[in-house]
């Protein structure tokens, strides 16, 4: 009945990284337990994408998710938080299954933010690296100051998230 997949081999590398690697760049990475082909699908098929992009623990919902993962194709995500909604949209510049995805983030007004995601498979597991290149150092500084990071993070209205995520992450005195 139930296959007891306790992801025994996954344990050592499950922790991800996030860094500002230069004045204009943010990089996040993590190893996912599955082949690149499958991971890539989860990034490009809307019915799969919408299941993981907004973590369940977050006080946000994804109202709609359109993804046309072809070069020149567009995506549009609409999020709801309390009474407000927020849209993120852009177009795909590169779609190379199962190793590379590049898209623009067009909702901002400070120039073009480009997101590049690479998928690198080793022994049935896939290293995912998400790289955000901001149009300028000032644009990234502003994003940080505003608490927002475009599509890669979440709507700015989620300042409260800080507390929630903080309590999840540190969990002291919390069940």
């Amino acid at each position: 009945m139930d296959t007891t997949t306790e992801r025994d081999q996954a344990a050592p590398m499950s922790g991800g990284t996030a860094d500002r690697t230069s004045e204009r760049e943010l990089v996040v990475s993590r190893t996912i337990n599955g082949p690149a082909r499958v991971v890539f699908e989860a990034w490009t098929r809307p019915e799969l994408f919408e299941r993981w992009w907004v973590p369940k623990s977050f006080p946000i919902s994804l109202l709609s998710c359109e993804i046309d993962a072809r070069v020149g194709g567009r995506y549009r995500l609409v999020f709801a938080h309390e009474d407000s909604t927020m849209e993120f949209f852009g177009r795909y510049l590169e779609v190379t299954p199962p190793s590379r995805l590049v898209w623009t983030n067009d909702e901002g007004d400070s120039g073009e933010l480009i997101t590049t995601v690479t998928f690198e498979e080793t022994d049935g597991r896939t290293l995912v690296v998400v790289h955000d290149l901001y149009p300028s150092k000032e644009a990234l500084d502003e994003a940080i100051a505003a608490g927002s990071t475009g599509i890669s993070a979440m709507p700015e209205s989620l300042a409260q998230l800080d507390e929630l995520v903080g309590s999840l992450g540190e969990g002291e005195g919390r069940p």
Binding site: T5, A10, T17, V28, P35, K137, I144, A153, V165
Partner: protein, 117 residues
């Protein structure tokens, strides 16, 4: 503002300086205390504290012959809190992605070989 961010990132790039901030988060300390805790010379520690001070992460006050250090008004906030939040969001997101990928693989297996439920 931008210059301050630059100074902060530079200040936080060094493990000793991050350690000093952690230490000062627990209690104020003199340069001498800090030098001992981190096993370095007074001159070396003065330099580190100077960098933190420029980034406004630490303030110092000299009373008599002792210079006491404490966390500055900005503390670690803004930058580190933000990067931390960003990392946690992605961690949670990747956890969900892991589940979706696992499920897809399980389905493929079931579809592939019906002999093994």
């Amino acid at each position: 503002m931008s210059d301050l961010l630059d100074a902060s990132f530079a200040a936080l790039s060094d493990p000793t300086r991050r350690g000093v901030l952690e230490q000062l988060g627990r209690s104020d300390a003199s340069i001498t205390d800090l030098a001992q805790t981190f096993d370095m010379t007074l001159t070396g520690m003065r330099k580190h504290v100077g960098v933190l001070e420029q980034a406004k992460l630490v303030t110092t006050e000299k009373v008599g012959r002792v210079r006491t250090c404490r966390l500055g008004p900005r503390r670690l906030h803004e930058e580190t809190a933000w990067i931390d939040r960003y990392r946690r969001l992605w961690d949670a997101r990747f956890d969900e992605l892991d589940k979706v990928v696992e499920e897809l693989q399980r389905k493929e297996k079931v579809d592939g070989h019906h002999d093994r439920a």
